[in-house]
């Protein structure tokens, strides 16, 4: 009772502080007033502290099993373990909004504090973040309070759905929600740069950095979501193209495009407005995703209870789209295509000498492919809604996404192999003739395409000789090999430069960033191989076995030995024992009689080559109904994603704040005017 009032008080105080912060920031931004900027920042941080207080209160109510609070009753019961009881904080609707706000406050406070030397930029970013936080606080206070009380205190709660009683619940939602909320920070900086008419280039570095943080968090969240689905749901896959999954993927894709277009912006001064569009789109897509999830407007197997939040998020989305569209139109109209420093580009080699494909060209193409892919996913996701408006409701399934995505996927793989080899500003004149005349002589002007070509050719030959006939594999694996060769070659070049002496190496921060990015490329390539391999080569057998009988899938023979009965956390468990060589696999079923539900626990034996994945679907007498999958290369997906995240961490987050080198001191780079 007391806790609920304390929590509501914290939320109200946070709302007041955030609203004040927005006003102070507006004043600071308009006047360029440092003191008001400080006031705004402090109010924002104080608001964040109040949100943290509200979060701690909710956590205390959950852990103290205060069933007078409706949220506690709805999402926990006395049998739930302590970690999962704490996880209910972000497992339920209201709590997840509070958690989102908590992370927004944390990321926002750090970002604003680190940018406070840029008074106007920080002030306008503060304004945007405070406005977003105020929206969430209004929703939390007025519509979906996590501290609402029940008229009568029940003796026990409703409990958490058994499918969710799994370790994945502890790690996947926090990262995904963190990613979602972190997209607000680069959005705030992009809007602030537009509104404030920022000059100089360091706002780009700031925005890029926060976009990278959000992207890294979302990468972890998406991977853990796939991992969880794979380990818990028992259909042998990890991605189903459900609207909720797509909603999480789209902002990630938009930010991927941004992280590349911003390179062009930093190095060549192009694509400035486009980069801003991408940052803003990522945020809007994350809000759209929230709207989709919370409103129940799209047919999805994931769903919250249909809640009154839908119209609120729709309204917020409309306001955000209108506001960012207006600001872009007002400030971001592309001007003459001049250099990023405001001067017309003055390349060292005259333009007409360099006519071939260029690094920036590769980035533009990559952006086009990703934007088109995102549009295709958005179209597929919203199709039921759009078609429902004009007639009968239409839906698309995985086959749509696979067919529509394939050309973009292949194009992106090709770019991973070619793009890093291309020089900025393009190859010098006559490159194609030289390539044709001396194809085997590693030409200095093009890095060396030889290695990539060699890797692709050898892989193709190896696959054909090995008897592989599936077209998707024959097309993608050589491209992946070429991409790997390109990345490794970049590392080789770096190593040789380093061996020749540190004096010749570039600054360590730019090196870190560069090799972090290539590590992420390596990760993406390995993930791509895992996706294709597991998709094309998956085998499944559905069998009913008597003790002593065997099933063979993907060259593995499993012999069923019988079932055992036991219990887990007080719930009855039936476990099937299967012998595979020297190993034993034990899939089981846990029943929750009070909920009238049974949950499968999958047994997985994982190696770098393949996973043997066994689901116990039913038991009848001594017989067991089993689904046995052989899933090749699935572990490559987890390994590749790990490399990607490692690349983000070592390559980029450790680096100190750097003003990109290419902008001469004192140069002007008005936002959008490029």
């Amino acid at each position: 009772m007391l806790l609920a009032e304390l929590g509501s008080g914290f939320l109200l105080a946070a709302l007041a502080l955030v609203a004040f912060s927005a006003l102070a920031a507006l004043r600071a931004g308009r006047r360029g007033d440092r003191r008001w900027g400080q006031v705004g920042l402090r109010a924002f941080v104080a608001g964040f502290v109040c949100v943290a207080g509200a979060s701690a209160t909710l956590l205390a109510a959950l852990l103290g099993r205060d069933f007078a609070v409706a949220f506690v009753t709805d999402h926990t019961d006395r049998s739930l373990s302590l970690p999962l009881t704490a996880a209910a904080f972000y497992g339920g609707q209201e709590g997840s909004l509070l958690y989102w706000l908590l992370l927004l406050g944390a990321c926002g406070s750090v970002a604003l504090a680190s940018a406070r030397h840029r008074v106007r930029l920080a002030a306008y970013a503060n304004l945007v973040l405070a406005a977003v936080a105020a929206f969430f606080l209004i929703v939390l206070v007025a519509v979906a309070s996590p501290f609402a009380l029940l008229p009568v205190t029940p003796p026990d709660g409703v409990g958490l759905n058994p499918v969710l009683r799994d370790g994945g619940m502890l790690v996947h939602p926090p990262f995904l929600l963190a990613g979602y909320s972190a997209f607000a920070v680069p959005f705030a900086f992009a809007m602030a740069a537009l509104v404030g008419g920022e000059e100089g280039n360091d706002w780009i570095a700031l925005t890029r950095r926060y976009a990278l943080v959000a992207w890294g968090l979302q990468s972890v969240g998406l991977t853990l979501g796939m991992w969880w689905a794979y380990h818990v749901l028992g259909w042998g896959g990890y991605w189903g193209w459900d609207p909720v999954e797509n909603a999480a993927l789209m902002p990630w894709l938009a930010t991927t495009a941004y992280l590349h277009s911003v390179q062009v912006q930093e190095r060549r001064g192009g694509l400035g407005s486009w980069s801003l569009v991408l940052v803003i789109s990522a945020f809007l897509l994350s809000i759209l995703g929230t709207f989709i999830v919370r409103s129940g407007i799209l047919p999805s197997v994931h769903s919250f209870a249909v809640s009154p939040l839908g119209p609120w998020f729709f309204g917020f989305l409309l306001v955000a789209v209108t506001a960012s569209g207006a600001v872009l139109a007002w400030r971001g109209t592309p001007e003459a295509r001049s250099g990023g420093d405001g001067r017309p580009a003055a390349p060292a080699v005259p333009e007409r000498e360099r006519s071939g494909p260029s690094r920036e060209g590769a980035f533009v193409l990559q952006n086009v492919l990703i934007a088109a892919l995102t549009a295709a996913i958005l179209w597929g996701t919203l199709l039921p809604l759009l078609s429902g408006m004009v007639g009968r409701e239409l839906v698309v399934g995985p086959s749509y996404y696979q067919r529509v995505g394939a050309p973009f996927f292949l194009g992106l793989l090709g770019l991973l192999a070619v793009g890093p080899l291309l020089p900025w500003r393009g190859l010098s004149r006559g490159w194609s003739r030289r390539l044709l005349v001396h194809p085997l002589q590693p030409p200095g002007f093009l890095g060396s395409p030889l290695w990539a070509v060699l890797a692709a050719g050898l892989t193709l030959v190896g696959l054909v000789v090995g008897g592989v006939h599936q077209l998707p594999v024959l097309v993608t694996f050589p491209l992946v090999a070429a991409g790997l060769a390109t990345c490794l070659q970049e590392y080789g070049r770096g190593a040789s430069r380093w061996l020749r002496g540190p004096g010749r190496a570039r600054s360590s921060t730019s090196q870190r960033r560069r090799y972090g990015a290539y590590l992420a490329h390596l990760g993406v390539l390995i993930v791509a191989a895992g996706l294709i391999g597991s998709h094309v080569w998956q085998q499944e057998r559905q069998v009913i076995l008597q003790p002593g009988q065997s099933v063979t899938v993907g060259g593995h023979t499993l012999t069923y030995e019988g079932t055992l009965s036991g219990s887990r956390d007080g719930h009855p468990v039936t476990t099937a024992r299967l012998r595979m060589g020297a190993e034993t696999l034990e899939p089981s079923r846990v029943s929750y009689p009070s909920l009238g539900q049974t949950v499968s626990r999958i047994a997985i034996r994982s190696t770098p080559f393949d996973d043997v994945y066994v689901v116990l679907t039913d038991t009848r007498g001594r017989a067991a109904a089993l689904n046995v999958f052989d899933n090749p290369l699935v572990s490559w997906i987890w390994a590749g994603a790990g490399l990607l995240v490692l690349g983000v961490l070592i390559g980029n987050l450790t680096r100190p704040e750097v003003v990109p080198e290419l902008a001469p001191a004192g140069s002007r780079a008005p936002v959008g005017a490029r």
């Binding site: 818990v232 259909w235 189903g240 409701e393």
Partner: protein, 148 residues
């Protein structure tokens, strides 16, 4: 060369260059649009409620949302189920062969993919169960796999 003429020439050049970009963008958009529409046409299916299924009898593939009624009949090997699916006051018989999601039981909302055969029975090739009300946003939904 007079200054205004130079300015005009520069403006024309800029306009020509931007026209080129717009043309490229238009071609890209047209290609992507064509791809989306054609693949959508080839893969999309109607998403209907039970009364809509009754109102638009079709033999094509459709996806239908409904609630599982009491009286689910399982075959001897447990692989096939027959049940009545209801929605909007009407019902349709469904037969499905394959793995059932863990939460499948009477009272649960399911989404089935398949077609209505000549006997009026809906033959489902895929069955997904909608999660109960307090499922978290980030929880992946249970999914049935198509029958072997």
């Amino acid at each position: 060369m007079s200054a205004p003429a130079a300015v005009a020439r520069r403006a024309t050049r800029r306009w020509r260059r931007s026209l080129g970009w717009w043309l490229v963008a238009a071609v890209v958009l047209a290609c992507v649009g064509y791809l989306l529409i054609s693949v959508t046409g080839a893969t999309a299916e109607y998403y209907e409620t039970v009364p809509e299924l009754r109102a638009h009898p079709t033999t094509g593939e459709v996806r239908v949302l409904g609630t599982v009624q009491d009286g689910v009949v399982r075959s001897a090997d447990g692989r096939q189920v027959r049940f009545q699916m209801a929605g909007g006051g009407q019902t349709v018989p469904v037969v499905y062969r394959g793995t059932l999601p863990d939460i499948f039981k009477p009272g649960v909302q399911v989404v089935v993919d398949g077609h209505v055969a000549g006997d009026g029975v809906f033959h489902a090739t895929q069955l997904e169960a909608k999660c109960p009300a307090h499922f978290s946003a980030s929880s992946p939904g249970p999914r049935g796999t198509p029958g072997a």
